[in-house]
Symmetry: C2
Subunit: 542 residues, 2 copies
């Protein structure tokens, strides 16, 4: 028996329609550098979106053509976020931090037709633009010379000019909620990046989850501040969620240094912000050096992308009255999947332990861990296996990719290894490919890193598995010291000795100037292992 | 182009699965009278749901068979809420306050096979049970004699016994999200009640909306207290939403008098409660007479079903530190459609005015007003027309009913009349059928009633349109005075004179002992008009 409910598609267009009518007077603020800001209302953003859609149609964008962006978080990027999917086309947010050959590859595979690009990013885009075969037009945003882009032979137009020439009215078409709205590529360290195609429905549901009390509880009393890039996993869904909630939005554009971020928080007073730990670490250091700033407008800071140090969360809470909530997700999970917030019955002395986990799934996401053979392991807080997730905003395949190895009977294999406790809290101990297998048992590189980084002399630490005759693999600790700090391997090993089991303690230590990173800033453990194998590192054996 | 996202149906079963795994240790508490309570965990409720589903299968419930409930808000009702839809059957929550012939009609039209009924409701159920043709079995909940029910000739079983005999494991089937999950009948004052059939998808999305920051912001830090009956518009979605959030749940069973409610709030400390204004009015009076109680655990009280007096909201906020948020909806809208909360830029002196409106739609609900000819009117806060709504949890038809008059090109005609301002705030001034048309202009009976009730001598007031030779219709004010109060029609008219335009002021006044109500407690204006026409009322003409 069918229900009698209306058939109402969950689409980005529906979010836009709602935002500009009920919340038309809410504002979108973009940093312009030097402490300046420009403002627009939702209504104006909606009108600009109409003009952009008309301009794109005039440029030949039809059906599900792909329109790429190569942009910072700013008003024009938000306009593209709503206009492109709402007109039925597919928004491809190019990650400006990919390597040039990766950018070339993903634009080609996605068949991007048009790229909307910030002129401030010309130095990155221009060198690769001529090789982006399918792209016929660049729409340039902001001030600056068009010459370097025009040198590619592509048509280059100014965003302001082509939108000014169009009507704000656009006949947004009816759209099937399962059709593509946007796409984003993973930043795989091995092989080509893989495309994830978000649907209208998945974006809508993900936004609802971000707005939920167990998510960020966004409401129209909020002002959202997505620092996490809109080209990286949808800025954790904050742009669409803010529009859905009718929350004000403040956008940092390219001004993401600690001073600019603190200035924005003080003057624009956002209530909810999202950024990776590195940003908050910089902010913490900046506030340390420049006391007297007030960041207390923030009721919630969402933090993820890499493990969030408990010490960072503690400092924010105790010194500045700002709550950092750790979340976990991937490009493949839209990305918000879990949030680390303690259940009300959590004993006082366990609160920080819980907040240091990856958190537990919000409704809509289901999680389980499986062993090497694919058998499901219990949620007992002890069994360790690969994390698998499923749900309406989790990918079930990759774009134009028939590789089934990342999926298992409808579940996404995350490539993360960890455990789940009876309350659903997930503790990730490693990437599956980074796990150290020593004498048949697993050693978590991530846990060792987290403990090492708590040592006052250590700025960063990466632990990788290296070949060992007796134990197959043993951990190598690659450590970056704080400026001017001096500490011996023996002391660090001793520091770890009451924190992990004895056989986890590394014998191999190397002190390096910086940890090699991937294009998106994650530890590049493949390179660390390779440099070790090539004898680049000066290794101390204890 | 299709998205790559997983196909994951939004079902009640998915909410249940999530609740019992991630939040299995959360509790469901049911009042047992005399200040006592019984408790169960989500996990136990889930196990009971499995047993109930097995028992229902054994009783022959297959496919989309309808299983009715005739129950208060208690643990067993919650078990039926999750078990029946999750097994693919359809939950029909019978409204115990319908007239006997209405109960008979709706059970027949819905083809209810089994009724799960509280034995405390035997006095209402027994007289009508034998005439409920399609029902073959009653499952009796609680203590008490089965005799009166058995006298109907139906099979009568005890809930505890049949569930105890079954396994807690049940193979929940895969379910299409658009299939029926539950149904509920409107309590139409004219003609037969009409059935609304909720889908799995609509229930899921509605729950997400209740959990959203603009809804009730439910999280697992909450304890939800639905006083509004689970047989009435799904207790405003609180049961499913609480399970989705992992919030504790406290249920009043049949103990909804003010003393019991206050006792429950003080001892169980719920954070979010939902009930009609009458309940909160009783609570306010009880607290007035019995000072010293603490209800401050409530961070939010949702209130709707009829217009919420601003004076009530003020008292709760100023005297008890409890925020009442007005919501509006109908059985047809699942029911939550709008919430009255001021936008952050609302001037101080407008806050209470805004809180006195019906509020504005949450994302997912679209609202508009149309004139008599169906033309859409502007959201300018002035134009008055019939409210129409659409969205994924709003009905597009009635069960087994081909009458299209309640729908217009995909929108539900609510039968409510009012205006919408530029921020989307809806002010309902009347039911379309209660609007008074005087000299070609509309007079709002509801506004007159709201002003009258603010007079200290007035306990209740109903205003209806009665025939008038010169003006076609004029308002008649039917007033119930406070005990011992005495006031003249002249004084009341004078009291209104600076609150509404002059030509709205009623000339006809009658003082009555009580206002006739429908089966669900709404003013029965049809009866008031009929009694006036039959000269039952003693009318003063000014």
């Amino acid at each position: 028996m069918q229900c009698t409910m209306q058939s109402f598609p969950l689409t980005v267009a529906a979010i836009l329609r709602y935002a500009v009518t009920v919340h038309g007077d809410r504002t979108v603020t973009t940093a312009t550098g030097d402490g300046g800001y420009r403002h627009a209302t939702y209504r104006e953003v909606g009108q600009q979106a109409g003009r952009l859609a008309n301009a794109l149609r005039r440029l030949g964008v039809q059906g599900d053509d792909r329109v790429a962006t190569f942009m910072w978080n700013n008003q024009e990027h938000l306009e593209a976020y709503v206009a492109v999917p709402s007109m039925g086309a597919v928004l491809h947010t190019l990650n400006i931090r990919l390597f040039p050959e990766q950018i070339e590859f993903v634009a080609y595979e996605a068949e991007d037709q048009v790229v909307i690009a910030d002129l401030s990013l010309t130095p990155i885009l221009a060198p690769v633009l001529s090789r982006m075969e399918t792209v016929h037009t660049v729409i340039a945003v902001g001030a600056g010379d068009l010459g370097p882009l025009e040198a590619s032979g592509k048509r280059v137009l100014r965003y302001d000019e082509i939108t000014a020439a169009e009507s704000a009215e656009f006949e947004w078409p009816d759209i099937d909620e399962n059709s593509a709205a946007a796409m984003c590529y993973t930043s795989g360290t091995t092989g080509h990046p893989k495309g994830v195609v978000y649907g209208h429905r998945s974006s809508y549901l993900h936004s609802m989850a971000v707005c939920s009390g167990n998510g960020m509880g966004l409401s129209f009393s909020d002002k959202a501040f997505p620092i996490v890039p809109m080209f990286h996993a949808n800025a954790w869904g904050l742009p669409y969620a803010a529009l859905m909630a009718g929350a004000d939005i403040v956008l940092p554009d390219r001004y993401m240094d600690a001073e600019s971020v603190v200035n924005l928080i003080e003057t624009q007073r956002p209530t909810v912000a999202g950024a990776v730990p590195t940003i908050w670490n910089d902010v913490m250091n900046h506030l340390d050096r420049n006391p007297g700033h007030d960041i207390s407008s923030l009721r919630l800071v969402a933090c993820g992308g890499s493990a969030v140090p408990v010490s960072l969360m503690k400092t924010f809470e105790e010194k500045y009255g700002v709550q950092i909530r750790q979340l976990w997700g991937m490009t493949e999970t839209s990305p918000m999947a879990t949030l680390a917030w303690p259940a009300p019955n959590t004993p006082e002395d366990k609160v920080w332990e819980v907040r240091g986990t990856q958190g537990r799934p919000m409704c809509g996401v289901e999680a389980r861990i499986v062993d090497d053979g694919g058998a499901v392991l219990p949620n007992d807080g002890e069994a360790v296996g690969e994390l698998e997730v499923r749900g309406p905003w989790i990918t079930g395949s990759y774009y134009r990719n028939t590789d089934e190895s990342k999926f298992q009977s409808g579940w996404l294999r995350t490539g993360d290894v960890g455990r789940i406790d009876v309350q659903g809290y997930i503790t990730l101990t490693d990437r599956a490919k980074d796990v150290i297998k020593s004498g048949g048992e697993w050693i978590s590189s991530v846990e060792l890193e987290n403990h090492l980084i708590a040592h006052p002399a250590v700025r960063e630490a990466a632990v990788v598995g290296v070949p060992d005759e007796r134990w197959q693999e043993r951990p190598l600790a690659a450590v970056v010291l704080q400026e001017g700090a001096d500490v011996s391997p023996e002391e660090l090993r001793n520091f770890l000795s009451d924190k992990v089991v004895r056989w986890w303690l590394p014998e191999r230590w190397t002190f390096i100037d910086e940890i090699p990173r991937t294009s998106v800033g994650k530890y590049d453990k493949k390179t660390i292992r390779a440099r070790h194998a090539d004898d680049v590192y000066d290794v101390t054996h204890l």
